[in-house]
């Protein structure tokens, strides 16, 4: 057996597990591991400027590939800086492994320098965690961590590594565990046959079906399309699921929920059968659960049993992976006839087309001021709808979700569950590492971009030609919108009085900055931005400060109780 130090074992096990990139930042407790990284180049280390950003980069890498993202940080502040990133990944079920340094075992509990109980701090926001006690346990802990992170319902896993066990002075035999099992962990992949049959019966009987697909369906996109086309059913995606079903498909009715389209929410509300695939009926979707979809039988497919009947009762629960369960559905749907199905849903589609004719996403353009919606449409046009679009959190996020139809899964990268401002730029960087030849754009706001702006420096170091599309409304727009609507326009601290000059800022970091003020300049500027292939471009686009995101559900109402503009409601 090969002999090596604990630190070398860490790096070697990462290689053996198939890790390409580690996003990290060094410090006392992990210097040995950094020394081991230095000695090889199989595992590439990306030096960030803030550990929170390392976690978001690993997250963006994971979201855009389906592979597990990896983070390496030191103990104490290095570890706690990743907490927001871990929580973000946890809420959206993103596979991630965070390796954190820890003080030497014999000092744990003594309030030693840079000691934090990382396993304790992260406990409520991880799928699982390991505190490794002996160097010999490193390979197994790493193998298990990656397996847990990316099986069942994916999620972040923390591995805490006390400094003494990674000591480069000591050698231990290394063996990567090819075969291991975790006896208490066996996620259910296949659906229960009896439930499958019941579900298929309900689906066949439905006259007004709808497919409601979330982040759990991103890995089953092709089968999702097959199911929808087989049934001729309308499809809606959650904010997390955008791209699972093509945004330009004629059966797509748009995103649902708080800022969903009128037609998506109407279709849900009036459906007689909801086929929920890898979605979790969260409060930003359902609005008032008491009034939620009164006519529907609900078939709920999810790999996580706790997601089923948590907020909304499922009539036909199926625990299993969407991909596997859809195959099981197909076994029982062989006899379905598409023409009959078309005829059966004719009235339903007539109704849906009528809701669509309301054109809820229409907005008034202005001659002197850029509307945020047109920026997204311009981005769509100049990227042929093919860019990876990462987003921050706020109005711009909703505009991006609504006005950029995503045709492919994993193209749309956003913090849906936690709503983490500061996510966008580092996530787009993770995406760019994973897809060096693709366009990786960030849609952001003047508030959000300043929450991880230091990563512009990392972008320069690694030559990442990210396209930053900043919808600058000189305000925390989403906060301001709520203040307009609920607090009689009292803009308490939602306004920023000292915006930096973003163009100069981008230039100071060695990038290209562009400022766009006028609607007539927008298209040209966007084209110029996309033509610059080898450099990061920061587009500071001045947009209308008073624009609101519509449609918007009315609080305490049903799914389809919505405001359609500042003056109209359903």
């Amino acid at each position: 057996m090969e002999m090596m130090s604990g630190a070398e074992m860490v790096v070697r096990a990462l290689k053996d597990v198939g890790v390409e990139y580690v996003f990290g930042y060094p410090g006392g407790a992990v210097l040995d591991i950094y020394d081991a990284l230095f000695a090889q180049d199989d595992v590439k280390h990306i030096l960030v400027r803030h550990e929170q950003a390392a976690a978001h980069m690993a997250d963006g890498y994971a979201r855009s590939t389906g592979k597990t993202g990896t983070v390496l940080v030191t103990s104490g502040p290095g570890a706690t800086n990743t907490i927001t990133g871990i929580a973000t990944a946890y809420m959206d079920s993103i596979p991630m492994v965070v390796l954190s340094g820890q003080v030497p075992s014999q000092h744990i509990g003594e309030d030693a320098f840079q000691e934090t109980d990382m396993v304790g701090c992260s406990r409520p926001i991880v799928k699982h965690s390991f505190l490794v006690k002996k160097a010999e346990d490193i390979p197994v802990a790493i193998a298990k961590a990656y397996y847990i992170a990316n099986s069942g319902r994916p999620g972040p896993v923390v591995i805490d590594l006390p400094k003494d066990i990674v000591n480069i002075q000591e050698s231990h035999p290394y063996e990567y565990p090819e075969d291991f099992s975790i006896r208490s962990y066996n996620p259910t992949e296949k659906g229960h046959n009896k439930q499958i049959k019941k579900a298929v019966e309900a689906i066949k009987a439905a006259k007004r079906p709808v497919v409601y697909a979330g982040g759990g369906a991103l890995g089953a996109s092709r089968k999702l399309i097959k199911l929808a086309e087989m049934l001729n059913a309308p499809v809606t995606n959650t904010l997390m699921g955008l791209g699972a079903f093509p945004g330009t498909h004629e059966q797509f009715v748009g995103m649902l929920g708080m800022h969903g389209t009128l037609e998506a929410n109407k279709t849900m509300h009036n459906a007689d059968c909801i086929i929920a695939l890898g979605a979790r009926f969260d409060d930003r979707v359902t609005n008032n659960v008491e009034k939620f979809c009164p006519y529907a039988r609900i078939v709920h497919v999810d790999i996580d049993p706790t997601s089923i009947s948590k907020t909304v009762n499922a009539h036909i629960p199926i625990v299993g992976a969407v991909d596997k369960v859809l195959s099981q559905f197909f076994d029982h749907l062989k006899d379905i006839d598409q023409d009959t199905q078309k005829e059966k849903l004719q009235d339903w589609w007539k109704q849906i087309r009528q809701w669509q004719s309301r054109k809820c996403l229409n907005y008034a353009t202005a001659s002197e001021v850029i509307k945020p919606q047109e920026v997204i449409q311009s981005l769509y046009k100049h990227t042929d709808g093919k860019a990876y679009v990462s987003s921050d959190v706020g109005q711009h996020q909703m505009f991006a979700a609504l006005y950029y139809p995503f045709d492919k899964p994993r193209q749309w990268i956003n913090s849906g569950g936690l709503g983490t401002m500061g996510f966008g730029l580092p996530a787009a960087m993770g995406v760019q590492f994973a897809h060096p030849d693709a366009i990786s754009a960030v849609v952001t706001g003047d508030g959000s971009i300043q929450m991880n702006i230091q990563e512009l420096s990392t972008c320069l170091q690694y030559n990442l030609p990210i396209k930053i599309i900043s919808l600058n409304n000189r305000a925390l727009g989403m906060v301001r919108q709520w203040q307009d609507m609920i607090y009689k326009g009292r803009h308490s601290h939602s306004y920023m009085e000292s915006m930096p000059d973003f163009v100069k800022l981008a230039e100071a970091y060695g990038h290209v900055g562009m400022r766009v003020d006028h609607p007539s300049e927008l298209d040209d500027a966007m084209a110029r931005c996309m033509a610059i292939k080898d450099k990061l471009v920061f587009m500071d686009i001045r947009v209308d400060q008073n624009e609101h995101v519509y449609p918007m559900q009315i609080k305490f109402g049903a799914m389809d109780d919505m405001r359609l503009s500042k003056t109209e409601r359903t």
Partner: protein, 165 residues
């Protein structure tokens, strides 16, 4: 509704804190908690008494089950089961009359007096929780209860059903 939930999990450091953390994190109630290793030293058994409506209890069992360290979760109260709790209770015995009454009461409840001093008795009592509650009520009517310590409920299903891997 009161429920008794038994959990079989890896006997690993941190496993208990994950369970306890889950209860506080999700706003579930813990009325009592009893933790020990099992006859297999690599496993622990946790017995939790909790209360909530069916939906809450369903979430509790599912959420516990979801933890990577957990093998099995069983709601003992779903079927017929045994439950026992042990209590040590110290009561004041200021005079002959109360001493005699406490002794009589302990006998009726099948308790044992396990410690005696000039001014108090300590009684050991086992049984279902409501029996221990009843003893406390009666004792309080009679004299001062100085302190009581309870182990929390432990329980098993009756018959062949068993919580094992």
């Amino acid at each position: 509704m009161r429920r008794i939930i038994s959990v079989l999990l890896e006997n690993e450091p941190g496993a208990l804190s994950r369970i306890v953390g889950l209860f506080s994190q999700r706003g579930f109630n813990v009325d009592s908690l009893c933790v020990t290793t099992t006859t297999d030293p690599t496993l622990s058994r946790i017995t939790i008494t909790t209360h909530g409506d069916d939906k809450v209890i369903e979430q509790i069992t599912k959420q516990i089950n979801k933890l990577v360290d957990v093998f099995k979760v069983m709601d003992l109260t779903e079927g017929s089961h045994l439950e026992r709790e042990l209590m040590l209770i110290k009561v004041a015995t200021p005079n002959e009359h109360i001493r005699a009454e406490v002794k009589r009461m302990a006998d009726i409840f099948r308790g044992n007096i396990v410690d005696v001093s000039a001014r108090n008795y300590t009684i050991q009592l086992t049984g279902p929780s409501d029996k221990l509650d009843a003893f406390i009520t009666t004792a309080t009517e009679l004299t001062d209860v100085l302190e009581a310590a309870r182990t929390g409920v432990c329980g098993l299903s009756r018959g062949d059903k068993a919580l094992k891997i």
